[in-house]
């Protein structure tokens, strides 16, 4: 998901205008983006369809460039040679290796600068280019200026360390072992596109274990900023749900009762049924106040920052299988019925953080023995292969129709299918999935005995 508005990069360093970068192509699509971004950052860009041999033959054009950007698919020894003694007489060039997140460690361990593309914005790209060239010049032309180099390298290491710590901290926000009531299976997965994620899931007890809350959410955007909002939204949802303020739901229900009061000539049963419909269900106050309160807080406190989240928040009564839910602008939950057609649990209100006084309806559905509810984020359905083709909602819905023997098997199958579809293409978005399965009656009995 994208943010509502992306801020402009702001003033770029004037020194960028003097930089020329030689960009060695790998796949044209990526290089087009990267070349355009470098130009936006203020650099002149020369693109070259070279192989390693061409580079090491030292074409004269290298005299005119300040930095060389190489693909991570090239042997790193070539990049190392290019940064050390490329030309004759031995004058080297600053080298950057553009790569995916997973390759950063390998590149940095080889003593090279890694450029995670497309996970940097324009201002960041300008800073990386300029710093790399300046560092390189300092090392080659002013051997005495080793102290600032060491300081900058130290800062980079510190940055990476902090990011890694952030990732670990964020993992702590996910339930280590999702709560699993007797007779049920709950399985969840999250694969982040970057070091930290904007997606999250949560499973927790309400009302002394009488109800189970299940959340799958997708904060718009990716990376550190989305992760900060993830932490905020996850905490608000949990805290408000656990406090269980009945106010917002009762206000909504009683307002409806007042507005819907039948005329004096209506059958008395109409009025009685309306009163019965006004009764709150156990767990519904927690569900409603959590989504309503989080939306209210985000709009009030962070409305100008353009962040929002879609989410599916369900509250399950494990004894009856009844699930009350709010789908706030999220992809539909897919309810796989034993021997029946799948049902889609579609939106019951807008994404959280967009509208003040957003009216959320509470949906209701019952899971019978053997039924499975699948929740996921759009990272799964939008996962693209190298040709740019998405996995797709329809394919997902078709694939999950084949019965699975367990919640884990269903998610394993989805993981495998998405991986086979994407192959080695870059993961653009966080992927989260959750399966809630009511065990068939006999399996439940076996399960209880085992416990």
């Amino acid at each position: 998901m994208s943010r509502l508005a992306v801020p402009s990069p702001g003033p770029l360093p004037a020194a960028m205008r003097k930089l020329t970068v030689l960009l060695v192509n790998e796949r044209s699509e990526i290089c087009c983006d990267l070349a355009a971004a470098m130009k936006l950052a203020g650099a002149s860009v020369i693109r070259a369809d070279w192989d390693t041999r061409t580079l090491l033959d030292l074409p004269p054009i290298l005299d005119r460039v300040d930095a060389v950007a190489l693909p991570a698919s090239w042997p790193l020894t070539v990049a190392q040679r290019a940064s050390e003694k490329l030309l004759v007489p031995p004058v080297s060039r600053a080298v950057l290796v553009y790569c995916e997140s997973s390759e950063i460690d390998r590149i940095q361990q080889a003593g090279l600068v890694a450029l995670r593309w497309p996970y940097v914005d324009i201002a960041e790209l300008a800073e990386i280019l300029l710093t790399t060239v300046q560092l390189h010049q300092a090392r080659n032309e002013q051997p005495q200026a080793q102290a600032p180099v060491a300081e900058l390298v130290g800062r980079l290491i510190e940055y990476e360390r902090e990011l890694r710590a952030g990732r670990e901290t964020q993992r702590g926000f996910l339930p280590q072992r999702p709560v699993c009531p007797q007779g049920w299976e709950v399985e969840a997965r999250l694969r982040a596109a970057r070091e930290v994620a904007g997606d999250f899931y949560d499973v927790f007890d309400l009302l002394s274990g009488r109800r189970i809350a299940l959340v799958v959410a997708d904060v718009c955007d990716k990376g550190v900023a989305a992760a900060l909002f993830m932490a905020l939204i996850r905490t608000l949802l949990r805290q408000i749900a656990e406090a269980g303020d009945p106010g917002p739901l009762m206000y909504r229900l009683l307002s409806r009762l007042v507005a819907g009061r039948p005329g004096t000539h209506s059958p008395p049963e109409v009025a009685r049924n309306l009163r019965r419909a006004t009764l709150p269900a156990a767990g519904a106050a927690q569900l409603y106040s959590a989504v309503h309160g989080t939306n209210d807080y985000l709009v009030r406190m962070h409305g100008g920052q353009g962040y929002f989240a879609t989410m599916f928040f369900g509250v399950l009564d494990p004894s009856t299988g009844k699930l009350r839910y709010i789908n706030a602008g999220h992809l539909p939950g897919i309810l796989l019925r034993t021997g029946g057609e799948p049902e889609l649990l579609s939106t019951t209100g807008p994404a959280v953080g967009l509208l003040q006084d957003a009216g959320y309806e509470v949906g209701e559905v019952a899971l019978m023995a053997g039924d499975t509810l699948l929740l996921h984020t759009d990272g799964l359905t939008d996962a693209r292969n190298a040709a740019g083709s998405a996995f797709g909602v329809l394919r997902l819905q078709a694939e999950v129709r084949r019965p699975a023997r367990s919640a884990r098997e269903l998610l394993d199958r989805l993981d495998l299918l998405v991986s086979q579809h994407v192959r080695d293409a870059r993961q653009f978005d966080d992927m989260t999935s959750m399966a809630l399965r009511r065990l068939p009656a006999t399996a439940g009995a076996v399960d209880r005995r085992q416990r």
Binding site: L207, R210, A243, P268, R272
Partner: protein, 262 residues
């Protein structure tokens, strides 16, 4: 209480705007009178702020522990926190209890903290009422409420098949019942009971069209009454007992009609 299954019990909620109207004694006495007719009756005290129904039957939190608070705050099932008080009926049921009571007392510091400092989960209370009505083999579930405007009384009124509104003409009563607005039922599902004075009930009857089902006579014995016994058992010949008996007839009639239509 024994879960017998079968039809849903009629939920009868007894409410008064003011305190001190004799509401709790009315609930206890109606319970005894209905059980005397052979109906299986459950009594539920939702007045957690000032529970008193248990005292009418001589139960005490010192001797017994479980109450509605265990269901609301501690995770007990609502069907498991009741007591058999059939002894008060003076006859025994052919199968299981004729009269059961779920007290509303608060026991221990943790329940006190829940009751005063946290939100009473109205959904859980509503579910509890529904479970008692569906799963315990009751014919009638009589609910005592907290007076005034409060969440538990609103839930008990909304859940009712029949609302018994005790009116005394006390200050603010008329406005208070107006405040409750559509939570108060239409004439088909509500009865007014004039307690001590009939004038206020007559006024309300004119405004809302709710029939006055009983005019309970002033009974100084009730004011002095300190025995752990429902009034109708201690004073079987009292005019108040006679009025309550007539009221129990109407409730029985309503409950049976509701069952027949269900």
């Amino acid at each position: 209480m024994t879960a017998l299954g079968g039809a849903r019990a009629s939920v009868v909620t007894v409410y008064s705007w003011a305190g001190g109207t004799g509401r709790t004694q009315t609930v206890a006495s109606l319970g005894v009178l209905l059980a005397t007719r052979g109906l299986r009756v459950g009594l539920l005290d939702t007045n957690l702020a000032a529970p008193g129904l248990h005292a009418v039957f001589g139960l005490s939190p010192a001797a017994e522990q479980l109450s509605l608070a265990d269901y609301l705050f501690r995770g007990s099932e609502v069907e498991t926190v009741g007591y058999d008080v059939t002894w008060a009926v003076g006859r025994t049921g052919s199968a299981g209890a004729l009269l059961s009571l779920i007290p509303g007392w608060i026991c221990g510091a943790d329940e006190l903290v829940y009751a005063v400092a946290r939100h009473l989960d109205l959904g859980l209370l509503a579910d509890g009422i529904d479970r008692l009505a569906r799963l315990c083999g009751l014919d009638v579930l009589l609910i005592d409420t907290q007076n005034g405007v409060n969440g538990s009384a609103i839930v008990a009124l909304l859940a009712a098949d029949l609302q018994l509104l005790l009116v005394t003409g006390s200050a603010g009563e008329h406005e208070g019942l107006t405040t409750l607005g559509p939570v108060v039922a239409e004439p088909a599902h509500a009865l007014l009971v004039a307690s001590a004075t009939a004038r206020a009930a007559a006024t309300l009857q004119q405004i809302r069209g709710i029939p006055v089902a009983a005019a309970l006579p002033y009974a100084p014995e009730l004011q002095r009454f300190r025995q752990a016994l429902p009034f109708v058992r201690a004073h079987p010949q009292h005019p108040l007992t006679g009025e309550l008996n007539a009221l129990a007839d109407r409730i029985q009639h309503r409950a049976q009609a509701a069952r027949a239509s269900a």
